[in-house]
Subunit: 334 residues, 2 copies
Amino acid sequence: MKKSILKFKRKPKICASYSVVGHMEADGPLGKQFDEYCLDDKFGKESWEKAESEMQRRALCGAIKKSGLIDTELDVLLAGDLLNQCIGSNYALSNFDTGFLGLYGACSTCSEGLLIGASLFSGGIIDTCATVTSSHYCASERQFRFPLEYGGQRTPTAQWTTTGAGAFILSDNGDVEICEGLVGKVIDKGISDINNMGAAMAPAAINTLKRYFLESEHSPEDFDLIITGDLGYEGSEILKELLLDEGIDIRKNHVDCGLMIFDRDRQDVHAGGSGCGCSAVVMSASIIPNLASGVLKNVLFLGTGALMSPMSLSQGGTIPSVAHLLHISHAGGK
Amino acid sequence: MKKSILKFKRKPKICASYSVVGHMEADGPLGKQFDEYCLDDKFGKESWEKAESEMQRRALCGAIKKSGLIDTELDVLLAGDLLNQCIGSNYALSNFDTGFLGLYGACSTCSEGLLIGASLFSGGIIDTCATVTSSHYCASERQFRFPLEYGGQRTPTAQWTTTGAGAFILSDNGDVEICEGLVGKVIDKGISDINNMGAAMAPAAINTLKRYFLESEHSPEDFDLIITGDLGYEGSEILKELLLDEGIDIRKNHVDCGLMIFDRDRQDVHAGGSGCGCSAVVMSASIIPNLASGVLKNVLFLGTGALMSPMSLSQGGTIPSVAHLLHISHAGGK
């Protein structure tokens, strides 16, 4: 139980970020804030899987360019995605002449990359790094559920995997800093419905938030926003209700990237967005700029991941989940 | 190019390790050195995938017990495996009440976990952690190539995925220390034969070793052993020959875990062993004990990973690879 919260003495700054999304996301409420979008689901490539690599490549190139660095100045790349063997990242990053650490945390991977990157920076192991994560609706549906051509009905609790990639550059320069981190535990409450990831992931987010507020000097009202990655409508309601039962009220400042990225009234996404790319592009396009400008002073970001597998579900398995936490601040105004 | 070699100022010790293997591995040259083996491919579970989780659980429990710690004293668990969505790790680690960072580096994951763990320890972010990785022959063949029932012919360059899991505990206590690390780059030389991973991975190992000897003050003869994870016969020959062309001679002290774990004359494994579990159990059962006793003073360990995907290969893709390096020493005798 010791040292659960990682307090970064040397706090890394998020000096640049870049978001690349598909047409659904560009048509959503945050559409104008993304750096780049493409009307073609395949991003000019021959397959959705190759499109996902292309999004990662563009996101990383964009973030590096914004940062003013060149890619060989980066000490390490941290990346992952939802595709089997993380091929989105593997192919994308073979274009860069920098060491690569591959991560798998399902939809929590954006937060996992930032957390490991921040830890390596804080410990003086590296001076700069990039993190990049992605997901693609068509590739994910084919891999995890049904090929799109099958035309399967989606249930009300189903979420819509975000087509997008987000990249972040950490260095000692900038107005947004990562102050603390908390590594999530694997939580498995027995949910086995692949179309209800919100319910599977909410207990992991609850576990992490409860531990954070128990161990830290902070309470929910210290944060402008408590941001979850992709709990969607179902998972967000579970999170708020069960935390309230524990005496932790986050109803006023909770937002979910999966609920921010799409307009559920106008877009047919059921319970909201999901995917490795969801929190990455929302953080990059909306949250980080507001932290940089000082509109937001302090936020908690919980990347939530449903560690589900079609193979294990076909064998009667459940969906273990994980949620990693980051405390991110406007650099001048805590 | 700056800071490529991570020099650990606060050097973590490998204070305990534990290996769990299947019957083929128990019947091999290192058979008596493994901590635990099981004659049943399913380790008492209903599927090979669940068996892989069970191996990870047993390996981690065994290592924790050997270390004298209790699991809640660990600051973080770093784990990964070859199964889609890393379900070997996800299910195994839901049994432990400790934060979990999921990794995907294919067969390089053992070295990736030790490298990240050592970095977090060196930077003072954590004081202790566990790493665990696994692979299972039957589950891997079904996922990556053909179901065993198909009875497909294996080519001469094919390798035999190790059934095994290895766990390591890092802390400030013990006789084996991790001195340096070097993060591998994604290298893709265009190999696309899923039955010739050695050829795909050798260029990644060459890239990492060349960079290490270029940047460090060391030459190959400074090391008792230069250990690659699972290049097998084919990949090992390529590695030694191409490095010799570059003026780096590792012929005298190179060994490969994939060649150590099986007796190729007696066991039908073609080019040798492979898999996340291969380097983990060989390091745990053979190399680490010899480093602890001082029989070995200094070794380089390169975990090699073929980041291959049946999906991308079916789309005409190649096999990108990565190799992470660790310099590990007898704590008293450099």
